[in-house]
């Protein structure tokens, strides 16, 4: 094994066997923390599989005595628990939000990165300022706007604004587009492509990692959003999972197995996405830190 300059000296000076002991020590610490991070999810699964009475047994047990799937089947069959409806609503809202965000942000980011049009510096400045405006400052006027449009208790307020872009997405993609050599753009222009074709054929395919990151961020923000659905949606059948869950909590607060099953259903899609697209989740967060 080569001696890495970063390895502490005392490790190198110790006999071989102790090195293994040190590694074992680290793995022990890592595992204890991992348990603390994962335990709530294990508990969620465990409780969701318990019967009502065994969930309240004391002392509590992690492994249910009998695997009871009825909490899950109830969610999708009982009318008073419209979790299937919530799930479909969440997918619809989140899907449209991701589509809108990717479409509008890539278009305007491309315009800001490559096209000279009047007012561009002003819009770029406004984007930077907007990044610093917290949503609480605009939430009530935007609510009034949607109420005036007659869109309260509809899904429009939850996804339509993404079709007009977002400051973070525009800024993030613009930074990516200006790193793509300008020669590509100019060569295509000389060949007679119009800017939209250049965006569609050259810039979008080249920016797939950045688009994946923005898409995943938008998915996460939309899927997990609670405040906006609470404000806009009144009808139970129109609620996405977050608002629906918080409503069910008020109705069935003591039925923990059912609540846990519903919570499990609500996080499953995003867990699957996280496992599949881990890099998009992590790299976006890591680079936002380094760029600032």
């Amino acid at each position: 094994m080569t001696k890495s300059p970063q390895a502490p000296r005392w490790v190198d000076n110790w006999p071989r066997g102790s090195k293994i002991a040190t590694a074992a020590g680290w793995y022990f610490v890592l595992t204890v923390i991992a348990l603390a991070m994962v335990f709530p999810f294990l508990w969620m699964v465990s409780t969701s599989l318990k019967t009502f009475s065994s969930a309240f047994a004391y002392p509590p047990t992690l492994i249910p005595e009998a695997w009871n799937w009825s909490n899950y089947t109830d969610l999708f069959t009982k009318d008073y628990l419209p979790v299937l409806r919530f799930t479909l609503n969440s997918f619809k809202i989140t899907g449209l939000a991701v589509l809108g965000m990717l479409l509008s942000c890539s278009m305007s980011a491309f315009a800001m990165a490559r096209l000279n049009f009047p007012g561009r510096p002003v819009i770029f400045g406004a984007t930077l300022v907007t990044l610093m405006v917290p949503y609480q400052l605009t939430i009530i006027p935007v609510f009034i706007l949607f109420q005036w449009l007659g869109w309260k208790d509809t899904h429009y307020p939850l996804w339509l604004p993404t079709f007009f872009g977002g400051a973070f997405g525009v800024f993030f993609l613009r930074q990516f587009y200006i790193s793509i050599p300008k020669d590509l753009y100019e060569a295509a222009l000389v060949d007679g492509c119009n800017p939209f074709t250049i965006l569609w054929r050259i810039y979008l395919p080249l920016s797939r990692p950045a688009l994946a990151t923005l898409g995943v961020f938008t998915f996460m923000a939309s899927w997990n959003d609670l405040l906006n659905p609470l404000i806009y949606i009144d009808t139970l059948e129109k609620m996405p999972l977050t608002a629906g869950l918080s409503f069910l909590q008020g109705q069935f607060s003591s039925d923990w197995p059912k609540m846990m099953a519903a919570a499990m259903v609500s996080i499953l899609p995003i867990l699957v996405l996280y496992i599949c697209a881990q890099k998009a989740f992590v790299s976006g967060i890591a680079t936002t830190g380094l760029k600032s």
Partner: protein
């Protein structure tokens, strides 16, 4: 930040009258074929192409900036001077909402609660996530699995994890009290009285803080990890040659090198800390018990959307913005002292 960004931007074309004149000239030349050999500037039509497409492509975003950001921000300032239930015509009240805010005991209580949340969760979250980043920055086989697991709470919703933590915190049959009493028995001590956690005004906010720190650790860990991996190996080598131990190297090499990132992490954690809402809504609906968990955003929500006092709610929102802005400015001012710049 903005200086660096603007530097990287392509030189902005001066859109003065002479260009418009040039465009007109190009147009004239196009319509009347040149009689002389003097040719128009080639970039004329291209510039028009860029201008048209630029406005088309950026159009939706410009519309969004106007109607979802700029307009609402202006409207917020106006509305904070009015009383409005959102249905009938708004009534101008001058500074009425602001004097009401300053004498509103609940507003101060919500501010104090939010400050308590921030004061505890931010330092705790930043320090623990830095330690976690150092831990997973080691070159051990399988370390990526641990990184994946530590990040897991970040991707899940506050709603789902708040539900399971509420169940944890149950004073009678909750797992947390069970684990505490078992630990006491294990080391041979008599278990303490079960803590009432979310049911006790003294511990309810603390319970929410613990859960929030747990959920946010992975996010900051990822940022710190990226920063740690950027620390030049040569710096550490030089320090080792000078006889610095592991802890000294951390103190005098690693910490100063990553301090700009630490600053960034503190600022974003502070900002999101002041906006705490979701977990309070699930774990302590309506600021229970006894408004001990009422936060500023919750108070805004309550006034605006439960009491339909839109004017007063925008006043609270504006106050929150002022607080966040002031705290961020203080951070920017303070960072000159402790952030290491090359």
């Amino acid at each position: 930040m903005s200086a660096a960004l603007l530097k990287s931007e392509a030189p902005v074309r001066d859109d003065g009258p002479e260009h418009q004149a040039a465009d007109v000239a190009v147009e004239t030349v196009r319509q009347n074929p040149p009689l002389t050999k003097k040719r128009p500037r080639r970039r004329g039509p291209l510039e028009r192409l860029e201008r048209t497409w630029g406005l088309i492509l950026a159009g939706p975003y410009i519309f969004g900036l106007l109607f979802f950001v700029a307009g609402p921000v202006v409207f917020t300032w106006v509305l904070s001077l009015c009383e409005w239930n959102g249905v009938t015509a708004p009534e101008f009240k001058g500074l009425g909402n602001w004097t009401r805010l300053l004498t509103d005991g609940l507003f101060w209580k919500a501010s104090a609660n939010t400050a308590y949340f921030v004061a505890l969760s931010v330092p705790l979250g930043v320090v623990l996530s830095l330690l976690l980043a150092i831990l997973v920055n080691q070159k051990l086989p399988g370390i990526k699995v641990f990184r994946t697991l530590y990040f897991l709470p970040v991707v899940t919703s506050f709603v789902a994890v708040s539900l399971v933590w509420t169940w944890f915190y149950d004073p009678n049959i909750g797992v947390l009290n069970y684990l505490i009493s078992q630990t006491f028995k294990f080391v041979g001590l008599t278990p303490p009285e079960p803590v009432k956690w979310l049911n006790d005004p003294r511990t309810a906010m603390l319970a929410i803080i613990i859960m929030s720190v747990w959920k946010g650790l992975g996010y900051n860990m990822v940022i710190f990890l990226a920063a740690l991996q950027e620390v030049p190996v040569s710096l550490n080598e030089a320090a080792t040659l000078d006889g610095a131990g592991r802890f000294q190297r951390f103190l005098h090499v690693t910490l100063p090198t990553i301090s700009p990132i630490t600053f960034f992490v503190i600022v974003i954690t502070l900002i999101s800390g002041f906006q705490v809402f979701d977990q309070v809504y699930i774990m302590a609906r309506d600021g229970r018990p006894a408004d001990s968990t009422l936060t500023l955003v919750y108070y805004l929500y309550r006034n605006g959307f439960e009491y339909l006092q839109m004017g007063y709610a925008t006043t609270i929102g504006t106050a929150l913005f002022v607080i966040i802005f002031a705290v961020t400015l203080i951070q920017i001012w303070a960072q000159r002292v402790w952030v290491h710049h090359d």
